[in-house]
């Protein structure tokens, strides 16, 4: 069956856009996370019509379909759990005409996040979500995961930046969810497609919202004598009624790793640093900078540095954005968490997470979106060391539980995918999961679009009895 599916796909797309060489399949069997899967073939369509034709073909063969962007996802979202057909969207990478009045543009899902903002620069506009992976990840992937980034603190995650999406449904029809005009009548399907991790259809075109570049920017790097004083500063800044454009935190270990890697001039004597950015008119940037410095000082900051020019600002950000690369260089393997907690609970949750890492004897570093309460404890380890992975996973579970106990949740931005699927009952009741499964069922009655993701098996719990009534 697989061979005749591949032959049909080759007839449709030509053999160079249907990859099934073992080497290709090995590359495509993983994303940037820890899960690996089974790819029958990876196809690279050029148009919406080709995507729809591929989906209809897969339907004929009753074969699961998995959409994939750049594969930088960390939850296994783009990995076929059951043998499936991978639809790689990177060639749908056109950028339409920019609407400078409505501040929006239609783009292909394969456009790389950073490229989009670079191309919008001449218009004085940018796409706000800026994941640390922005040099590689695609807009389609960002829509899939409802990606966040440092600058989503003030501007919201991807869902607030998508006006419309063209979607190839799981049965191969082409529909538009949302629209160029506000408040499309009917249920807001756009809002559930964003963040659905490729399980409700394949996004083939996106109308993204563009934001004005700010007239003025200040970037602050603040060193603290303890993680607690940095975390308290974050809570205090938010509580004071100031929402900076970005508010990121790194602990000492992470600062050391980054400094070895990019030499951004981060203070090595600090136990934690905050990277804060404020944007707006020159007057508001001046006053916000002063307010943040004052709050930091009240929390015993040992060093406040304000970038003097764009070069220094970019250097400070380079430190933040190369953090994962720096760790990858230092440790053979790493496991990256992504829980989120109310911002008022940051200090206590951080304390408990350090305690867990210590108890398991793990090397942990932290770099995270502190202003959103989105934690990214990163555990460096060597998978070849016997028992190491087991300890990492046991600690991971405890860290997740600590976050949930504090009123938090499983994922702030990386998504559920396969990786956290079976933890969903920690956050949601059987009835909650059943309701979510109904959303999936409405889009994908046959369950062929990226199956086995997000919801644990049996989530549609009232299936057997035909409903509670």
């Amino acid at each position: 069956m697989a061979m005749s599916l591949i032959a049909d796909l080759e007839r449709l797309l030509g053999s160079d856009r249907v990859r099934h060489h073992p080497l290709d399949l090995a590359v495509f069997a993983k994303d940037a996370g820890v899960v690996s899967g089974h790819v029958i073939a990876a196809v690279l369509p050029d148009t919406t019509q080709e995507v729809a034709a591929v989906v209809r073909l897969a339907n004929q063969y009753d074969t699961p379909i998995v959409p994939r962007g750049a594969g930088t996802g960390l939850a296994g979202g783009a990995v076929p759990v059951r043998p499936g057909l991978l639809v790689v969207l990177t060639r749908l990478a056109s950028i339409g005409e920019v609407d400078t009045v409505g501040r929006s543009v239609w783009v292909g899902p394969g456009v790389v996040n950073l490229d989009l903002s670079r191309k919008m620069k001449p218009y004085g506009l940018h796409f706000a979500p800026d994941p640390s992976s922005q040099q590689a990840c695609t807009i389609g992937g960002n829509v899939g995961t409802n990606a966040g980034g440092p600058h989503c603190l003030a501007d919201g995650t991807t869902v607030a930046h998508i006006y419309a999406a063209e979607l190839v449904t799981p049965t191969g029809e082409v529909v538009i969810v949302g629209g160029d005009a506000p408040d499309t009548p009917g249920l807001d399907l756009r809002a559930v497609v964003v963040g659905s991790e490729g399980t409700l259809g394949i996004v083939t075109r996106v109308l993204v919202r563009l934001m004005q570049d700010p007239p003025d920017v200040a970037t602050l790097l603040i060193g603290f004598p303890s993680v607690e004083s940095a975390a308290t500063t974050v809570s205090d800044v938010i509580a004071s009624g100031l929402i900076p454009a970005a508010l990121e935190m790194m602990d000492k270990r992470m600062v050391e790793a980054v400094e070895n890697f990019v030499h951004a001039g981060y203070p090595l004597d600090a136990e934690a640093v905050l990277l804060a950015e404020v944007t707006g008119t020159p007057a508001s940037v001046r006053s916000d900078t002063q307010r943040i410095s004052a709050i930091a000082q009240d929390n015993r900051a040992i060093d406040v540095r304000v970038a003097v020019d764009i070069d220094e600002r970019e250097l400070l950000w380079k430190g933040r954005k190369s953090a994962f690369g720096a760790v990858a260089q230092a440790a053979p393997d790493y496991y990256l968490h992504d829980t989120v907690v109310p911002r008022t609970r940051l200090v206590e949750v951080m304390e408990r997470i350090y305690e867990i890492a210590d108890r398991y004897g793990l090397t942990m570093m932290n770099v995270f979106h502190a202003g959103d309460g989105n934690l990214h404890p990163l555990v460096a380890f060597d998978a070849k060391e016997p028992g190491a992975l087991g300890r990492v996973q046991a600690a991971a579970r405890e860290m997740v539980l600590v976050s949930i106990e504090a009123g938090g949740s499983l994922s702030g931005e990386h998504g559920i995918g396969v990786e956290k699927r079976d933890l969903m009952p920690l956050v949601f009741s059987a009835a909650d999961l059943d309701a979510q499964a109904r959303i999936k069922e409405a889009f994908d009655p046959d369950g062929l679009m990226n199956p086995d993701k997000v919801l644990p098996k049996g989530s549609r719990c009232f299936d057997a009895s035909g409903g509670p009534l």
């Binding site: 609407d99 009045v101 409505g102 501040r103 409802n146 919201g156 869902v159 449904t169 529909v175 538009i176 629209g179 160029d180 005009a181 506000p182 408040d183 499309t184 009548p185 249920l187 807001d188 809002a191 559930v192 963040g195 659905s196 809570s235 938010i238 509580a239 009624g241 929402i243 707006g280 008119t281 007057a283 508001s284 006053s287 907690v341 109310p342 008022t344 959103d372 309460g373 989105n374 949740s409 499983l410 702030g412 931005e413 969903m424 956050v427 949601f428 009741s429 009835a431 059943d434 309701a435 979510q436 109904r438 959303i439 999936k440 409405a442 889009f443 919801l455 409903g467 509670p468 009534l469």
Partner: protein, 379 residues
Amino acid sequence: MFRRIGWSAVTDIGTSISSSFPEIAMEPSVTTARCEIVVAPRTVDEAAQVIRHATEHGFSILPIGSGSTMREPRSNIALSTSSMAGVIEYQPDDLTIVVGAGMSIGDLEDVLADRGHSAVLPESSPSRTVGGVVASGASGYARLRYGPTRDRVLEVTMATGYGDVVRAGGRLVKNVTGYDLSRLATGSFGSLGVIGSVCLKLWPMAPASRTVRVDNAGSALDRLYRPVAILETGEGVSAYVHGSVATVESDVALLGGTAVEGFDWPCHDQPPVYAEVRVPARMIDDALVRVREIDPLWFVGQHGVGIVEFGLSAHDDAVLESLRLWAQGLGGSVVVTAPGLSSRQRWGSPGNTIELQQRMKHLFDPEGILNRGVLPGGV
């Protein structure tokens, strides 16, 4: 705890409900001729019980908040959220609040104003309920700066059409844990379930604000950095700016118009027919020209957003249809709210997602007892 409000006209439905749920407040429907009885459960669990009861007995239900946007359809029971109207959890330092769906947005904003916060809900109708505003997906004029209301809905609890209580989303400003039913419930007009509580993301309000009369909306939009709103009415164009005192002063200087302190939002009477034309934001000037030609009672155009709302003294199919034809040609819509309209008159023709919408409705309300026909295409 045994409460019956004005319980005189005992109908069959009333008897059926009161015998099953003696503790739930209800009253014969006087506010709306479209329902026989108003039932006001105190919790979302009670709401689910009423829904299950209605399903068993073949009654239909109309979820209502303040009843302001309620026009149709005819239902047996109006399920009011008025007994679920308090603050459930306010976390000022986290900038989130959880409230019962029946709380009025005026009461909510009063609570928030004490801490200098706002949920940025529609400015013009303080008596509308939070649940009603969320269910109708209504946004205020400040959406140019703060985005639509839906961007602030973090969590909802809901009694679904199949009688379950579900919670969706989370009390967190950032969260990607599963399918976000709270985002789907926003703007669903009670067609999927009855919203019991809502968690909203809040914004700190700036210390200073100004309303500035300007000549040209387009140039204000170009030159200002993130204005709160730029509105055009029959009286002219106003730019709404806020921030530190220094910021608003520099904005006012930049615009060079006359400024008044605070936000001077347009206000108008509830018209017999309320309509909105929604077009891509770049087409707003054309939309304003067309609305002016209709000679409405009043209008408010939202520059940078793409909505012109207007009031008419009577429904005129031909005029509204021709406006709609034009708007739909641009990918937009015309939405009309007035008594007795068909789904087509209210929304226009449903878009190409109609089958998906129907399936979603069926999965959340299999017996079709909730607000049937309220969405485009009669869904």
